[in-house]
Amino acid sequence: MKVLVTGICGKLGRLTALKLLQHGYEVIGIDRRPWPEAPEAIELVQADIRKRPAEDVFRTHRPDAAIHMATVTHLVHQSPDRMRVNLYGTRAFIHHCNSYGVKQAVFAGRHTFYGAAADSPLYHTEEEPPMAAHTFPELADLVAADLYAASSLWRYPEIATSVLRIVYTLGPSKHGTLAAFLRGPTVPLIMGFDPLFHFIHEEDAAEAIVTALAHKLHGIFNVSGPSPVPLSTIVRAAGRRPLAMPATVFKLGLGRLGLPHIPSGAIDHLKYPIVVDSDAFRHATRYTYAYDERETIDSFRTAR
């Protein structure tokens, strides 16, 4: 079975591609970025998902399935380009899947879709509306891409589409939103708040994506690993020093004084939890994670 992966050169894209190979799939990848040490078995095309050469890959290879991971998620990337990649890229992906007879599509999205608020329930289920666009406008394009991908569930019902809302990934690659936040020796926290954070080992996340493909899932599914852990506990377990500061000081210092460059909307994500209920995914696939909460953090902490 031939699987096309967009955004294959990202950390999660690479892990997913390797897992696909292990499971005996034929893998074709599209990305703007290079992957110099990619296995020879993977056919790589350096192209932008929105451009003609990417469409040619769909046309000539006629993949049976496609996984869309070509979304820009770093919050530092605050250009209009980011929004175009996320929205027009998703549109092109769905359009090509439909035009070139792709039978299965997987959209790898994120659990931050639900947003963080003082009064939201702790475990979010798939039917809940996105509050992130309101509390955190910088995430609006990712929320829109998620909803747009989900619209293909009714627009192209003959394609088995699954939209995955995956919790923060963490692991030896040290890539991803949570890893970036934990980068320095001292990690700033908001005083008086300590939200639960939901995370999954990056290998487990890649395995979940392959699992969704193997089960021909059709629908929207939250994907999580072990039960959530308070942020300050994660920071300490990762060998970092937590530094709690009042929210007002934190806001003033963003991007200065060694504080990360994050939009002020992200502060709510450091005050309130985003935790998801992934029972539907587990029931549909019998998926289980391999790395528990401590092993996942240790793999991040001890990585070189």
Partner: protein, 278 residues
């Protein structure tokens, strides 16, 4: 959170061990309850519960020792001392300790500190999705259907009841949970409020700021009566018309009114413990 501040009371630690909760490798349950924080916090609170205040709890056996249930009672006394005392009686006095999840007002999680403590103790902003999930997970809920209007009662009205919300009945019906009514007496004596400043409350983002006889918001040492009644079971789906639900709410309200009345008589030593009808 309290590692350097609060010492552990071994008796309290044993009761936390006996809780029906599953902790992960970091000592945190799936709802964010932190075993270590809870033990330290409760060790300090146990002293306040036993020596600063004194709670005469009756009918503790009416609370299911396992499985879902909703504790429903009257609110009074400016700030939610009653909620803390119910927590104390469940954690420290019940034969088998239980940690009730109070459905707290939404302003609380907006406050630094309060949010962190409440999160680690399993206390969530009250909302139906959260409540249903906890009940289906066989947890015990604590609800005050009077809400902030209840705590806002001035001392002279402390034993009265104001309007009840209906959400708790719909939750009970939908999840087939028993309701355990309770009456709490003494809230108005611990913190006798003479006025509530709404304008000052708006400034701080709280419903109101209570003013006591002695101005300060410090409760005086008080003996409370806490009476748990027999569990009440209602049949239905939770999607009944308001009239149907209101009739059930009234039954619970009457029961609570009766428990408060008996608690008051007990407090005034007009009846003895043997005469209680719970």
């Amino acid at each position: 959170m309290f590692d350097k501040l609060l010492p552990i009371d071994p008796e309290v630690a044993a009761r936390i061990e006996a809780l029906d909760l599953e902790f992960n490798k970091f000592g945190v349950d799936p709802y964010g309850i932190d075993k270590n924080d809870l033990t330290r916090f409760l060790s300090a609170f146990a002293w306040i519960y036993r020596y600063y205040f004194k709670v005469d709890a009756y009918g503790l056996d009416h609370v299911p020792s396992q499985g879902r249930g909703i504790l429903v009672g009257n609110h009074s006394g400016g700030i939610a001392i009653d909620a803390a005392m119910v927590m104390g009686s469940m954690l420290l006095d019940a034969k088998r300790p239980r940690l009730p999840h109070a459905m707290i007002d939404k302003f609380i999680h907006k406050f630094p500190g309060a949010s962190q403590v409440m999160s680690r103790m399993g206390q969530f902003t009250g909302n139906p999705d959260q409540a249903i999930r906890l009940l289906k997970a066989e947890r015990l809920l604590l609800a005050f259907p009077e809400g902030a209007r209840g705590t806002a009662k001035l001392a002279k009205d402390a034993d009265s009841l104001v309007g009840f919300g209906t959400g708790f009945i719909r939750l009970a019906l939908e999840t087939k949970s028993p309701i355990v009514p309770f009456g709490f007496v003494g809230g108005g004596d611990a913190l006798p409020t003479i006025a509530n400043l709404k304008w000052l409350g708006r400034l701080f983002g709280v419903p109101y700021v209570p003013v006591t006889k002695w101005i300060l918001l410090v409760p005086k040492p008080t003996r409370f009566q806490l009476l748990y009644g027999q569990p009440m079971y209602f049949e239905g789906t939770g999607h009944e018309r308001d009239e149907v639900v209101n009739a059930m709410v009234d039954q619970v309200k009457e029961r609570i009114r009766d428990l408060i009345r008996q608690g008051r008589q007990l407090r005034e030593k007009e009846i003895s413990e043997e005469e209680l009808v719970l």
